[in-house]
């Protein structure tokens, strides 16, 4: 078990492409840190740098107090679960699990006991003599996990381990992973592009974009107080609504004006000057539909998506608007496509971001 820390780490490929830029991240011992971001954000590169599969162009990587920046992967004592599992196809499940222990010259009796123990934990005892080709996707995933656990490494690295599973199995395995992490108490670094997976699994999540970290925070903190407009849009589903807006003074009160509506708000706590351009963010469930003319703006419902537990509505604030407003309502509201509604926006749930930098205000 070990803490992992990256200090000013960069990765520039030979062709000049910058995958990770000046990244600093401290992962505490026993934590489950989730790196989340869209594809191409550099999250996989970060775990590969930790694993030693890529060499850092700059910066330092420290695992368990040891500087491993220049250490080969086989000497870092980490285990990794790959997206496509990377099981040795010519070895039985038993030999796949035992390989790492055999390489480390553990006594045969201990290897045998350890393999049996891990197989039991994961419920794959009856598969031990099969080859990977004879396993289902879910079973292969388990074997890949077992191969990582069996060695009791300093930390686990998981690179999109669930993305090849079908949705039902993915949710079940996700819960098992959380359970496994709690029981083993080993540091885990988990990469995913799925914000829901990140929210449900992570002790903390690091939201990445263009090779840099936008925010490191507990999942709920990232949801409630996103540090940037990018995090605001990426975390939470459906995504937050964002409008460019400007401040103006209306007598005693301040007003936020977008091209569709004006919100009067209290002046207290607003640090930005008048006339400043901001991004106004409102989560879909902080908008309440009502009768036309009673809300802050009127809108026409374009699409209704009943999801069972809630219903998502996409509405347009003006005819032919390119971007639709996302609204989440309780499941049994009798709203149909084509209806016109008034939208009431909750004043206590506004998110404001600098229009230029995207930083939260």
């Amino acid at each position: 078990m070990a803490a992992i820390s990256l200090t000013n780490v960069s990765k520039v490929y030979a062709n000049g492409q910058v995958a990770v830029r000046d990244l600093t991240l401290d992962i505490t011992d026993g934590e489950l840190m989730v790196l989340v971001g869209p594809s191409g954000s550099g999250k996989s590169t970060v775990v590969r740098l930790i694993a030693g599969l890529e060499a850092a162009s700059a910066g330092r990587i420290i695992i368990g107090g040891r500087d491993v920046t220049a250490v080969a992967p086989q000497h870092r004592d980490l285990a990794m679960v790959f997206q496509n599992y990377a099981l040795y196809p010519h070895k039985s499940v038993r030999d796949n699990l035992a390989f790492g222990l055999r390489v480390r010259r553990e006594p045969a009796a201990r290897i045998d006991a350890r393999v049996r123990e891990v197989a039991q934990t994961l419920g794959i005892e009856e598969l031990l003599d099969r080859k990977p080709a004879q396993l289902s996707g879910g079973q292969r995933q388990r074997v890949a996990l077992g191969r990582a656990i069996v060695r009791e490494p300093q930390a686990f690295l998981l690179d999109e381990p669930l993305s090849n599973l079908d949705p039902l199995l993915r949710v079940a395995t996700r819960a098992e992973l959380a359970l496994l992490h709690r029981r083993l108490g080993t540091t885990m670094v988990y990469v995913t592009h799925d914000q829901e997976e990140a929210m449900t699994l992570g002790s903390r999540i690091a939201v990445m974009r263009d090779g840099a970290i936008e925010q490191v925070a507990a999942p709920l903190t990232a949801f409630e107080r996103p540090a940037t407009s990018f995090v605001a849009r990426f975390v939470g589903a459906p995504a937050m609504n964002l409008w460019p807006a400007g401040w103006s003074r209306n007598g005693e009160r301040l007003a936020l004006t977008t091209s569709f509506f004006t919100l009067e708000v209290d002046s207290a706590g607003r640090r930005t000057p008048e006339g400043a351009n901001v991004l106004l963010g409102i989560r879909p469930h902080d908008i309440v539909p009502g009768d036309v003319g009673t809300g802050d703006a009127d809108a026409q419902i374009e699409v209704v998506e009943p999801l069972g537990a809630s219903t998502t509505i996409h509405a347009s604030l003006e005819d032919g608007a390119a971007e639709l407003v996302r609204i989440v309502v309780p499941p049994h509201e009798s709203l149909r496509a084509g209806d016109r509604v008034g939208l009431k926006i909750r004043r206590d749930r506004l998110h404001l971001f600098d229009a230029g930098s995207g930083r939260a205000l």
Partner: protein
């Protein structure tokens, strides 16, 4: 059958016939008495005899060239594959300066016309005392067989899923261990193909074998067959019998090895 598949069947039959007919003719002739060989040829032979084969292994001592060829071709194949696999793995997976230049250079070596280096090689081999010995043939063969092996295996190693080697590295295995336990077992089809080609090349090679052998004791099969002809007569029956015997083991090896070249050996390694 559709019109197109009929045409394909006819074309295929013609090609197969063209390829197999000379072999058939050689086999039939090797069982035909010398006196009948030059009379009007018949497709179905009227009389089959074993005289040519009997002569091959009694008066001619054909066992010696067969033994020589087996040793030379076997040693060449074993060395070319084991050394070539290590070279190929380095060229396929390691990053080092001048890699593509090395690969090009390796290929360039194989481009030399053999005949142009026979005399210098002869002088070198005489100097180091390897004329008329097995190493005297195996070493020159290696210089021609290795480039082929290296290029084939580089191509094969490159298309193996790289994650497997990364997984092995994280499991704690070094480069050689990864090569031995992960890469080579998965490359069995590629190695089988490279072995067959190397073996065929060394088994059939004629120029070096003729130039560097000083007496019948060290003739290989092709050399022995070529030197069957006497000053006044060409024993066609025995030459063809020798050719059939020389082709037999090779054909057998290819047929057996073909079963090892099974596609889908890597199935289940990664998704899909």
């Amino acid at each position: 059958m559709t019109r197109w598949s009929w045409r394909w069947a006819v074309v295929t039959a013609l090609i197969v016939g063209a390829v197999l007919f000379p072999l058939y003719w050689a086999i039939v002739s090797s069982f035909t008495p010398e006196s009948r060989l030059f009379t009007a040829p018949k497709l179905i032979p009227a009389q089959l005899i074993l005289d040519h084969y009997r002569a091959l292994f009694t008066t001619r001592d054909f066992w010696t060239p067969i033994r020589n060829s087996l040793i030379v071709a076997g040693a060449t194949t074993a060395l070319a594959i084991s050394l070539g696999a290590v070279c190929a793995y380095a060229l396929a997976r390691l990053q080092f300066p001048g890699k593509s230049l090395t690969l090009a250079f390796v290929l360039a070596v194989a481009m030399f016309p053999q005949v142009s280096i026979v005399s210098p090689l002869y002088l070198i081999l005489r100097k180091v005392g390897l004329l008329d010995t097995y190493p005297g043939l195996v070493l020159p063969y290696l210089t021609f067989a290795m480039p082929l092996t290296i290029w084939m295996l580089v191509g094969y190693f490159r298309q193996l899923p790289f994650e497997l080697e990364e997984a092995a590295a994280l499991d704690g295995a070094g480069r050689l261990r990864t090569l031995w336990e992960v890469v080579l077992p998965l490359s069995a089809p590629g190695i089988a193909t490279a072995s067959i080609l190397t073996f065929l090349y060394s088994w059939n090679e004629f120029l070096f074998a003729l130039s560097f052998a000083l007496g019948p004791e060290s003739y290989t099969v092709p050399v022995a067959i070529a030197l069957f002809r006497g000053q006044y007569q060409v024993p066609w029956g025995e030459i063809l019998a020798g050719a059939v015997v020389a082709t037999g083991p090779v054909a057998l090896i290819v047929l057996v090895a073909q079963r090892r070249i099974v596609a889908g050996l890597t199935a289940g390694a990664v998704k899909g």
